[in-house]
């Protein structure tokens, strides 16, 4: 089909960006690579078809199209050959082809991504869409419009909803699916949220998540959120679906929100320092700024050396030497709580033998390991007591 117009772009697979000479081959490819049931190897016709099959026959939830690129793994979008590809992606594909394909560069050694034809070379003509896809003169269709183009029957949405709702009860083979919709806020038609990511995953989609000034890193808007998806055959990356570090996801959790600092102003180092350019004057400033630091460091080194030699009585002896680096605000920060004798053994000079931790040394490990220390450690735990009202923060930034 696609080759009838000689100038038209080759049919390509939405799931893996691979190009084919003939849409028939493309369909064969999709059936074999993307719509094959990993359990019984039955070849289905579409992503939703595979999903339904696995759910009904094997009671397995499939959340991603096998062997698909990240961002193109949506199982709920109905694509058959070139039909059903989101218009934005078609457009993007054209652009990639014409605009000197950045993005089809690095090759993974995973088999699925092995072959990427990057041969098509044509201008961004408006009619380069292969006949399979409905022409969309208005460019990237807004989600509402897009609805109409979907070769999908009206009974599809309810099913997909039901499909989603069944997930939590399923075996967490694909834990990503059982994520409650809070994290990525998947719309009923996740297809849309993904469809707008038109750049191939190899081009870095500039993330839209700007850290808010309150420090809370906002989850990227659902419709621009890249996803973590395995490229390989039959593999699954154990990671939340959103391509954001687990630390950021975790820090959003209410449990880990930093406690509000009662009256301490948010420490905003001012003035906002500009980017430092390597000019001589600034280099001088830099060096000057460090003269004092270097002096202090030298003192500290002496102190540390003394500590190594065991000459000094211990940390207490070191303290004065290291004082200069401690800001003047120190005295205001007297320890608030009854501390344990501070690091009582810091000053003990003990040789660290090589060969420590050998099995022989394990005998004493069991329970006696510093119970005294443990006790005092436990005593320190109540954190509220340690920081009554943000006293610690204020001195420096008032």
């Amino acid at each position: 089909m696609g080759r009838k117009k000689k100038k038209a772009s080759k049919p390509w697979c939405w799931y893996c960006n691979r190009e084919f000479d003939d849409e028939k081959i493309l369909i064969q490819h999709q059936k074999a690579k993307h719509f094959k049931c990993h359990i019984c190897h039955k070849k289905l016709y579409t992503g939703p078809g595979l999903s339904i099959h696995c759910m009904q026959v094997h009671k397995e939830a499939i959340d991603k199209v096998p062997n698909s690129l990240p961002n193109r793994s949506n199982i709920e979008i109905e694509i058959y050959g070139m039909e059903g590809i989101p218009p934005e992606d078609v457009k993007e594909h054209e652009k990639q082809k014409s605009g000197g394909g950045k993005g089809s560069d690095s090759e993974d050694d995973e088999p699925a991504a092995k072959k990427k034809a990057t041969t098509a070379l044509l201008g961004p003509g408006p009619s380069t869409v292969s006949p399979g896809i409905l022409p969309t003169p208005m460019g990237p269709a807004p989600p509402g419009m897009y609805h109409g183009h979907m070769p999908m029957n009206p009974m599809m949405p309810p099913f997909m909803q039901a499909h989603r709702m069944m997930m939590p009860g399923m075996r967490p083979l694909f834990p990503a699916v059982s994520m409650p919709p809070t994290s990525t806020s998947k719309p009923t038609f996740p297809a849309y949220s993904n469809a707008t990511i038109s750049a191939p995953p190899t081009t870095s989609t500039t993330s839209s998540s700007d850290p808010k000034e309150n420090g809370e890193v906002k989850p990227p808007a659902a419709n621009s959120c890249p996803l973590v998806t395995a490229t390989g055959a039959g593999s699954k990356i154990i990671h939340p679906p959103e391509d954001v570090s687990v630390e950021e996801i975790r820090a959003r959790n209410i449990k880990y929100r930093p406690k509000p600092k009662p009256d301490a102003p948010v420490p905003q180092p001012q003035p906002a320092p500009a980017m430092i350019t390597p000019s001589t004057s600034q280099a001088e400033v830099w060096v000057a700024a460090h003269m004092n630091a270097a002096v202090a460091a030298a003192r500290q080194q002496q102190a540390a050396a003394a500590l190594r030699r065991g000459v000094l009585g211990g940390v207490v002896g070191v303290l004065p030497a290291s004082m200069p680096r401690v800001p003047v605000s120190m005295p205001q920060m007297a320890p608030v709580m009854p501390m344990l004798p501070v690091m009582p053994q810091f000053n003990l000079v003990r040789q660290l033998q090589p060969g420590m931790l050998l099995p022989g040394g394990m005998g004493g490990m069991g329970g006696m390991g510093g119970m005294g220390g443990m006790g005092s450690m436990g005593g320190m735990m109540p954190m509220g007591a340690m920081f009554p009202g943000g006293v610690m923060m204020q001195p420096r930034y008032r």
Partner: protein, 350 residues
Amino acid sequence: MFNQLGGGSSNPNKDLEVMSPPDDTVSALEFSPPSLQQTFLIAGSWDCRVRCWEVEASGKTVPKAAQAMEGPILDVAWHDDGTKVFMASTDKSVKCWDLASNQTVQVAAHEAPVKTCHWIKAPNYTCLMTTSWDKTIKFWDTRSSVPIMNMNLSERCYCADVDYPMAVVGTADRGICLYSLEGKPAEYKRVESPLKHQHRCIAIFKDKKTKQPTGFALGSVEGRVAIQYVNPTNPKDNFTFKCHRPPATTGGYQDIYAVNDIAFHPAHGTLATVGSDGSFSFWDKDARTRLKSSEMLDQPLTKCAFNHNGQIFAYAVGYDWSKGHEHFNPAKKNFIYLRACYEDLKPRST
């Protein structure tokens, strides 16, 4: 959860357990620098605290002290003289903890949680390097509330490492930026990522002969590590390898886990990786072989560290959120284990 999948027990490698481990997942783990006679271990945790233990020659660990911040800890770093510890938190600040006086003072601030902190000791200056999700990298004289230097990152910082005169930062959106610290910190170059998935951990390695930093190892959430030279003599010097991918079990699907941390052995130049799958592995990057792989633990390994002479390998065990918050079991204990590792990490004889 992990148990259901047939994973191992809490200490299948028979390693030494650190006493009084943190109450929540360990997010940072560092041994004291060689300037100290004894060996201390500090660990930052999601429970907002940083703890310090002395590790005795017998392997016995004695809890020494702890400090808390307003938010979970994301990184810790030692001052080179071993008297102070820096703690970076989601509360957007970094504090300096003077171990001798057991007092803390704020030394750095960002506009978003601070992801990493590193102490830089150069011949002509010392400073604290901090990176944050606010897409900046800052360098601080610890006595001033204004950074000495402030540079923009392409994205939120996910990982960083410092080995004078080199610093490297890995960011979201697969960014890598190298910094030269000689004279003063300066951006050296931005590097295209050798990996295709989210960056998670980064560690600088040294050249075997010159003992100068010459490249870095970068780990991603896709169970893969890239060995990347700054100036490779041969393009084939750079390579990636897969790790933390337990053999396929469930329905023929292979689970791929994140590489949570990478550490280079200070004496041998070999490396250790710990993964979300609950295992650690030792590797020889030059021979391109695995030296050892551990038994599987029942929880992810979040961090690892070698002590300064490479006798001890420490690794932290706890949930890393890789399966989402619903798999978080607060009742599950967190652990830090110590292991005599000097022999295990000897490079393959050539």
